[in-house]
């Protein structure tokens, strides 16, 4: 039966609202939704498999206090059942990643401000090219850069060199995120500040940047999570260490163990006991990344009410 339109005169059949046509469209709609769900599953399932697999294999090693308080030592220690763990690795990761943040964040935010707020500056195009190049550079090359800049002159592998390598990884991410979020802040805020007789840098620092707080913090957290998982740049900068360092300073000027690099060497070692600890290292890394991203979500949600 044709559904007729409310028109004066000869009733017409409007194809779009016939029952068969409607049913066909609903069916197509359901198929599309089904495909979308399938696509989401295809993406999520490997993630869940990885998480499950790592946790299943590594949870045993992690749930001991030795894991966090002991250092690795020689293979003999693990083979003989003496206390061994990755306490020095976790500590080393925190030191190297923390130092990398300290280096990358101020420089990255500064670069982002320059790119967004001073488009007329002669250095602007140069900075943009440098930033984009650094962003696209493979992480191992960044490690090589830190090797030639820090390790060679210092004559030793060091936590500092590792931090610099990771800072090279973090920097373009922080700079791009900062620039992106600053561009979104409406021009009227800057105009109001400038009309008040405030110098430009004051306007940027005290009125624009605070409004962009959330985006900047998000960028930093994402950069941190990305760098925390990088093993390649650390292979020949911080290198690795089987022991706790003798003094706090040695974490900066001597070879330091980090989770991603240690995971690699434990995995390719011939010892079953070390394989188990490698899985444990994987669990800790996973935890680090998950906590970082959950932290990002918390920060963004809380600030939502006071955002523009």
């Amino acid at each position: 039966m044709a559904v007729t339109a409310p028109v004066v005169g000869r009733p017409r059949r409007i194809a779009a609202v016939t029952p068969e046509n409607l049913r066909r469209r609903y069916r197509r709609d359901r198929i599309m939704i089904g495909l979308l769900v399938l696509a989401t599953a295809v993406v999520l399932i490997p993630l869940l498999i990885i998480v499950w697999y790592v946790v299943a294999n590594g949870i045993g090693a992690v749930l001991t206090s030795d894991f966090f308080t002991q250092d690795l030592g020689s293979p003999a220690r693990a083979l003989q059942g003496r206390p061994t763990g990755l306490g020095h690795t976790i500590l080393g990761t925190l030191v190297v990643d923390g130092l990398a943040l300290l280096i990358a964040v101020p420089i990255g935010i500064g670069a982002g401000i320059m790119l967004s707020e001073y488009p007329d500056h002669p250095l602007n195009p140069v900075l943009r090219v440098l930033n984009d190049t650094l962003n696209g550079m493979p992480a191992i090359l960044k490690g090589l850069l830190a090797f030639s800049l820090i390790v060679k002159p210092m004559g030793t592998f060091s936590g500092f060199a590792g931090a610099v390598a990771l800072a090279f990884v973090m920097l373009p991410i922080v700079a791009r995120a900062t620039e992106g979020v600053l561009r979104i802040i409406p021009w009227s805020i800057r105009e109001a500040g400038l009309a008040l007789g405030l110098p430009r840098w004051r306007v940027v620092l005290n009125t624009v940047l605070p409004a962009a707080r959330v985006g900047v913090v998000t960028g930093i957290l994402i950069a941190f999570a990305r760098a925390a998982g990088e093993a390649a740049p650390l292979l020949f900068t911080s290198f690795g260490n089987n022991f706790f360092s003798s003094t706090p300073l040695r974490y900066l000027v001597g070879p330091v163990d980090t989770l991603p690099a240690r995971l690699y060497s434990l995995a390719i070692s011939p010892y079953k006991e070390w394989h188990a600890m490698g899985w444990g290292a994987g669990v800790i890394l996973l935890l680090l990344v998950i906590v970082t991203f959950v932290g990002t979500r918390i920060v963004t949600r809380q600030r939502h009410a006071t955002d523009l």
Partner: protein, 287 residues
């Protein structure tokens, strides 16, 4: 409406003194104002956007204790002219301002004059109220002081109260000075923006359609405020609302396609303008 025959060629550089036959408030106000010292004098201000001329050779005198309204149809150059008065065009690429704007004897466009200091003496309020979103009401008012390094708490408190009282906002916010500025109403935000400019002791206040985005109630408050403020600051207000110009200003200047067509005391302007174009605009034949 007939236009009167001008007794002399109009000289836009001086405020028009009221004709003897004018009666009433407008004439009285203008008569007082005509004796007031000139605060800001523009000579031959022209603004070019690349090849396009936005404002052509405008010379106007703005006196102490007066409110001058700039009226005209969209695109006539009134806002462009207003923004040239505090060197806001410095911030836009490709805009060239020529001519002089003399504030207390100093040409603000002279070599070596720092636009930052000029903008403290000539403040600006925009169409859309823009409180700094991450700051409290208190911090917003004193932003012009705090952000240049003035830390004396007692001084800041005093300035905040004075400015908020001058902007007729004190009573409404005195109990919540630390509340975020984005939480108050649009009309209150606009008064906050005015307080912010007053806090740095601006001598001239430029207002770019300040009540366009406000409801009638808030508009009325701001118009009353303008009358209260004119004893402290010289006010120049751009408005597309002719009734507002008639209510609020002592002098009115009519702009059309980049030129200053006519300037007169408001009473004369709206009852007996000299130029045909002014007459056409005011009676609504265009614009």
């Amino acid at each position: 409406m007939e236009t009167a025959m001008p007794p002399t060629t109009p000289d836009p550089a001086a405020p028009v003194t009221p004709k003897p036959q004018d009666a009433g408030q407008g004439a009285a106000r203008a008569a007082v104002a005509a004796d007031a010292a000139p605060r800001l004098i523009t000579e031959g201000i022209s603004v070019h956007y690349g090849k396009v001329i936005g404002v052509r050779d405008v010379s106007l005198t703005f006196r102490d204790k007066t409110v001058t309204a700039l009226i005209g149809p969209s695109g006539c150059g009134k806002t462009t002219f207003l923004r040239s008065l505090n060197r806001m065009h410095d911030l836009t690429r490709g805009v060239k301002v020529s001519g002089k704007a003399v504030l207390d004897g100093t040409d603000i466009y002279a070599n070596g004059v720092d636009p930052v200091t000029i903008r403290r003496r000539i403040g600006m309020v925009f169409q859309k109220p823009t409180p700094f979103p991450t700051m409290s009401i208190y911090d917003n008012v004193v932003a012009g002081l705090k952000l240049v390094g003035i830390r004396d708490r007692a001084l800041l408190d005093e300035v905040a109260e004075r400015s908020l009282r001058q902007a007729a906002l004190w009573d409404e916010v005195k109990d919540r000075l630390k509340a975020p500025a984005s939480g108050i109403s649009g009309g209150q935000q606009q008064r906050l923006s005015i307080a912010r400019a007053l806090a740095v002791e601006a001598e001239v206040l430029l207002m770019d359609e300040p009540t366009s985005s406000l409801d009638p109630q808030s508009t009325m408050r701001i118009e009353e405020l303008i009358q209260e403020l004119k004893d402290t600051v010289t006010i120049i207000i751009v408005t597309h609302n002719m009734q507002q110009a008639a209510r609020v200003s002592d002098y009115t200047a009519f702009f059309y396609e980049g030129d200053l067509i006519e300037v007169a005391d408001t009473n004369t302007m709206f009852t007996n303008p000299r130029e045909q174009r002014t007459n056409d605009y005011i009676t609504g034949r265009f614009g």
